[in-house]
Amino acid sequence: MSAEEPIRIVIAKPGLDGHDRGAKVIARALRDAGLEVIYTGLHQTPRQIVSTALQEDAHGIGLSVLSGAHMTLFAHVLAELRDADAMDITVFGGGIIPETDIPALRDLGTAAVFTPGTSMGEIVDWVKSNVLPVSSFEGTSR
């Protein structure tokens, strides 16, 4: 067991949305905070995202959606994770997401949703305290 294992995060752009400013800024902020970050690139299907997360042995997936397709895309990513028996990977996200959609996204299994105006510091702090490298916590299911 290594207590020093870094947190690994996949930052992903599901669907057809090409706006990656937010995704890239968060990826850099997490990397600068000492996390390992894998960015998927644009136009990823939910299956591709989950497969990247499994290959990279990621502890968390951050989804960025600005196109209004968040309800469909978050649901698909979470369903793929369930099918892969990988629900221990923490899913969080952000984008142009109306406040009133957040409870439904949380019900689907999204751990946190960050809306426009959230500071990088807040997101980094949240990830550090909520996405834990599982191998340092023996006994939790993985």
Partner: protein
């Protein structure tokens, strides 16, 4: 104590400017007359004293029927030109029933799968009376041809059609992300469009070379105009290499920039961009027609500066941004709705956005005289400074072998991402004030119920497609698509066989797939 500020382009702004700022500055060389080389003061001699800019509000969502209703409402409210937003499946050349389109149909714009949707979109709108701008890039040729087909059905001949297709694929690789084909066939398709329009739709603006999306992605004003003008140079070279005379297509090139809240530097940016372009077209490409030297542009207020917090404050930001665009001499303007950091605009917020322009045009005095900032110590100095910074960046792109080579090295994208990260850090630290976000916050935000797109439209579009595929003559579709593939593999202009395929009710997805088979798709090497 006075402190020196730095502009958005990282250039110094002095607390006070005096005559020394313009030492050796020659108005004849730097400004010229309005409507004359180097067009610093504007592309037309009378500018808004003759008539105001075109108020053109970008709109579209859901089905063609819903968007058609919004356009009619905008026309009734006094909008002067239509501006069509397409949904992402359409922009990426997928039909509404494709797996990858799931969840995206009708969300950020209208879903168009075939000429049948296009006919509904423009139902009751006489196409010889409106000018229509279409934000469409990789499949620009398809949507232009669908527009022409609908016009033909209305009995309107193509020489009466006016409008713009965005058709700027290079900035898709740099900032916006809705690319389909690799750069080489993409540029060839653009040259085919230039030639087709010259022969068939002569009043159409064949491209809107766009910095707006780079700015939204984080580009500074100097980066925005430098990378946009460098893209412009690449398009001109492509068309010239395809055998066109520069004066045969350059008058139909247009540009598209952002307007930020920092209006002094924005006015300087617009003026600098006009001066650089006029010089490039004259000196590098030897253009003779004065229209070839004119940088005509559309402006949209900066969406990225709008906040989801206290969204009504955005009305004020948009008014300031719009003022900057007007003081900078824009030819047309889209003012964002105050709720766009939350969702698509409602009818009311879209109307307020248009009213903002009407106040600028009809209640202020900034339209009474041309280029009101000319001769201002600060604005002339900033115009020179932004110009110099942009020219330096353009030289870097040139050193890399031009815009496409620089894109393949990831140059523009990484420069822009660095700027975006710096802005985020400054906002986090509070060095950059964003009202309502990192200062002057409310303890409790008021709830806001945004406009929502009916999720059932995806199923409705799929049904329409199923009916279309059952009804059309499939052999006609197959034959015309085969003709398109052949043209794509040769050097023939692809627009003619493409029009045949679309007339035979081939869908947007099918036509793009035929081209994908021949040209392949673009896969960026995306690092951060």
């Amino acid at each position: 104590m006075t402190s020196r500020r730095t502009s958005e382009s990282g250039l110094p702004i002095e607390p006070v400017y005096g005559p020394e700022a313009l030492e050796g500055w020659d108005p004849a060389e730097k400004l010229g007359e309005p409507g004359k080389f180097p067009f610093t003061r504007g592309v037309y001699p009378s500018m808004y004293t003759g008539r105001p800019w075109t108020m053109r509000q970008y709109a579209g969502f859901g089905t063609a029927t819903e968007s058609n209703a919004r356009y009619k409402q905008l026309i009734a409210n006094g909008t002067m030109g239509l501006s069509v937003a397409f949904d992402l499946p359409t922009q990426m050349g997928h039909d509404s029933d494709a797996a990858i389109a799931h969840g995206e149909v009708g969300k950020v714009g209208v879903a168009i799968d075939s000429v049948d949707d296009m006919r509904v979109l423009f139902g009751g709108i006489p196409l010889d009376k409106v000018s229509t701008s279409m934000t469409i890039n990789a499949p620009a040729a398809l949507l232009l041809l669908l527009y022409q087909l609908v016009a033909e059905e209305q009995g309107v001949s193509a020489d009466k059609l006016t409008g713009t297709i965005q058709n700027d694929v290079l900035k898709e690789y740099i900032a916006r992300g809705t690319y389909i084909f690799p750069p080489k066939p993409s540029l060839r398709l653009i040259a085919d469009i230039f030639k087709y329009c010259r022969a068939e739709i002569p009043k159409w603006n064949t491209i809107s070379i766009s910095g707006y999306h780079m700015a939204e992605a984080g580009a500074s004003p100097a980066q925005e105009i430098a990378f946009t003008l460098a893209d412009g140079i690449e398009y001109v070279r492509t068309a010239v290499a395809a055998g066109m005379d520069v004066d045969d297509f350059a008058p139909r090139l247009s540009f598209f920039f952002v307007a930020r809240t920092t209006i002094l530097e924005e006015v300087a940016k617009f003026r600098a961009a006009r001066r650089i372009w006029a010089r490039v077209m004259k000196e590098e490409f030897g253009a003779k027609n004065p229209k070839s030297l004119m940088l005509r542009f559309h402006t949209q207020t900066a969406g990225v500066q709008l906040t989801a917090q206290q969204p009504e404050v955005n009305l004020v930001r948009v008014a300031v941004q719009g003022l900057g665009a007007v003081l900078g001499g824009t030819q047309s303007l889209h003012t964002n709705s105050f709720d766009e950091a939350i969702a698509l605009p409602t009818d009311k917020s879209a109307r307020l956005a248009l009213r903002t322009q009407q106040v600028l045009a009809y209640e202020t005095d900034v339209t009474a005289t041309v280029d009101p900032f000319a001769g201002s110590y600060v604005v002339e100095k900033m115009t020179d400074d932004v110009e110099a910074a942009a020219v330096e960046l353009m030289a870097k792109v040139e050193e890399m072998g031009g815009a496409v080579n620089a894109i393949e090295h990831g140059f523009q994208k990484s420069e822009i991402e660095r700027s975006a990260y710096r802005i985020a850090q400054e906002t986090d630290s509070g060095e950059r004030v964003v009202v309502g976000v990192n200062r002057f916050q409310l303890d409790e935000e008021e709830p806001y119920e945004p406009l929502r797109v009916d999720p059932a439209i995806e199923a409705r579009q799929a049904e329409r497609l199923a009916k279309l595929r059952a009804w059309r003559v499939q052999t006609e579709v197959d034959d015309t698509l085969e003709g398109l593939r052949k043209a794509a593999a040769s050097t023939d202009n692809v627009l003619y066989p493409m029009k045949d395929a679309l007339r035979a009710r081939a869908t947007v997805g099918e036509v793009c797939n035929a081209l994908r088979e021949v040209w392949g798709t673009y896969a960026p090497s995306d690092v951060f």
